[in-house]
């Protein structure tokens, strides 16, 4: 599906002394089968933005469109099945006595037949590499394991778009890399992934396109190279290194990912 936000503004607590405009005129599109990175510092409105995608929040102004149709006209449960949202530190919402039971929650809420629900559970755990955890108690798992289970729980709805809000927060670097590989795997399987992250290096590795938010507005949008090279001071390390060399080596090009940056740098030194 194509998920679009058109000129979305969101004001919290309007008309009270706590009124705050979290989003202003934000437009973006999530194309089918791509990884869209959303970056920005704390207070940029990333989390608010993402909650509009499955209408946990409704826009004060503007529209949310699913395949061109106003998302508000869809049944909420239908929308939330098709647009899956995984919050930051999602393991804090695990509640069932076993992993299987927890992952089965969403399929059951959708009214699926018990057999189909179980199948979904098995499938999701497999994708997350967490099959051996099926009969374990969620509370007894390690941080990384719990994270996988939580994501599996949302994946079990078989969403067309999967939104991950800071999915690698608090994880050790090796587990982080596993998760990034998973995101690429999901894209291969045809699921669009929206990756919200403050970690520019990780967004650089997996995103097809990037939207950069700043104080509730879209500061820049486009391919990672377009967005990051425009503002090298707020870019992934790879882009920063290459930008610094551009002065003395104008022919250098615009790599973003690690591998291509390494190749570019190697070529530079005449290897």
């Amino acid at each position: 599906m194509t998920l679009e936000l058109k000129d979305v503004s969101h004001v919290y607590a309007p008309g009270t002394p706590f009124e705050v405009e979290a989003l202003r005129g934000v437009s973006l599109v999530v194309e089918p089968g791509e990884v869209l990175g959303i970056v920005g510092g704390t207070g940029s409105g990333k989390s608010t933005l993402v909650k509009h995608m499955n209408l946990l929040l409704t826009p004060t102004i503007g529209e949310v469109l699913v395949d061109g149709v106003d998302a508000r006209s869809l049944k909420k449960s239908e929308l939330r099945r098709r647009v899956g949202l995984v919050f930051q530190f999602p393991e804090s919402a695990l509640f069932a006595p076993t992993v299987e039971e927890d992952v089965a929650f969403a399929p059951r809420q959708l009214g699926l037949h018990e057999d189909e629900a179980r199948e979904r559970v098995r499938e999701s755990l497999r994708v997350l590499g967490a099959e051996e955890l099926a009969t374990r108690a969620p509370f007894a798992l390690s941080g990384g394991e719990k994270r996988r289970v939580a994501i599996a729980g949302v994946l079990a709805m078989k969403p067309e778009v999967l939104i991950l809000d800071e999915p690698t927060a608090g994880l050790d670097p090796a587990t982080r890399q596993d998760l990034l590989a998973l995101i690429l795997g999901l894209r291969e399987a045809g699921i669009s992934v929206v990756l919200v992250s403050h970690d520019l290096d990780e967004v650089a590795e997996v995103a097809d396109r990037v939207s950069a938010l700043h104080e509730g507005r879209v500061r820049a949008a486009g391919t990672p190279a377009e967005v990051f090279y425009r503002e090298p001071a707020q870019a992934p390390a790879t882009v920063q290194v290459v930008s610094l060399l551009k002065g003395s080596r104008p022919e250098i090009g615009a790599p973003v990912r690690f591998k291509e940056t390494l190749e570019t740098l190697r070529a530079l030194r005449g290897v």
Binding site: G41, G170, P173, H198, L200, A237, L245, S248, F258, R269
Partner: protein, 285 residues
């Protein structure tokens, strides 16, 4: 390992020493720590790395007496944390991972004073120490703020101020930045860096870039102390990194792949300079 390893600053007895320390959590088959021995000299800055579940957090809790070793000896400032925890905690402060769960009081000031209250410091002395600690972490003006109005980085700085107020000689940092975003991490590290010359520091972390200035790095894996190396040797050892599920951050990794020294090159500026210098001089390693 009895020998404290390379890069140790000379002189004096140990601020912290562990001798053949072992510990298992009740009900667990595997020991969390197995015959671990090492020493920390006063003023040293030592990093501790390793995969999760490898014993790092257990070590922290053994050092300040939250846990008691099953066997072996621990000495902190010449005291045994298991028998004299209160005395040890006066001299060894711990900054924990979760910024929220370390803040006790409804206002910043009161929280910073918490440790001083516990130590029975007189009120007139507390005011000055609290103010100094708050200044040391750059939070002047935040005295009457409530914890849930603060960012993650600010909360950790409050926690740090609370520890600094009691003026411990030894600081143990248990993954203090892993739950923070990039901005928060930068904030906290800046203030931690400023403390380095005066304190003995044990820094547990996953982020290797935080340890480039360390004197030594200890590696704990599966409860065993696998290595005790200088950062230079450590960061260049690809096998050691891989076995311990450690990943170099982007810039040092690029440096390593390009045959440049990873420890001296941690920022994009440094790497760019080094690349240009190498290209200019026309040499190749």
């Amino acid at each position: 390992m009895e020998n404290p390893g390379e890069g140790t600053r000379p002189g004096g007895s140990f601020a912290v020493s562990c001798e053949n320390v072992s510990f298992s959590y009740p009900g667990s088959e595997r020991p969390a720590l197995s015959e671990v021995s090492f020493g920390l000299r006063p003023g040293e800055y030592v990093g501790v790395v390793g995969p999760n579940g490898g014993g790092k957090s257990t070590l922290v809790r053994l050092l300040n007496g939250l846990l008691r070793p099953d066997s072996g000896h621990i000495r902190v400032s010449d005291r045994d944390p298991a028998t004299e925890p209160f005395e040890v905690r006066k001299r060894l402060g711990v900054l924990f991972q979760n910024p929220d769960n370390g803040l006790v009081a409804p206002f910043v000031e009161d929280d910073v004073a918490f440790g001083l209250e516990n130590l029975g410091v007189a009120r007139h002395e507390m005011q000055g120490r609290v103010a100094r600690a708050i200044r040391a972490v750059g939070l002047e003006g935040y005295e009457r703020r409530e914890p849930d109005t603060l960012s993650g980085g600010e909360k950790q700085r409050v926690a740090l101020a609370g520890i600094l107020a009691t003026e411990p000689e030894i600081l143990v940092l248990d993954e203090p930045t892993s739950m923070l975003d990039t901005a928060g991490r930068r904030e906290v590290l800046r203030y931690l860096k400023a403390l380095r010359p005066e304190k003995t520091v044990l820094h547990v972390t996953h982020h290797l870039e935080e340890l480039t200035g360390a004197d030594r790095i200890l590696v704990l894996n599966g409860g065993d102390l696998i290595a005790d190396e200088t950062p230079e040797r450590f960061l260049s050892d690809a096998d050691l990194l891989r076995e311990n599920r450690l990943v170099l951050p982007v810039v040092p990794r690029l440096a390593l792949e390009l045959g440049l020294p990873p420890t001296r090159l941690s920022t994009p500026e440094e790497l760019a300079e080094a690349i240009l210098a190498r290209a200019e001089s026309g040499t190749r390693t």
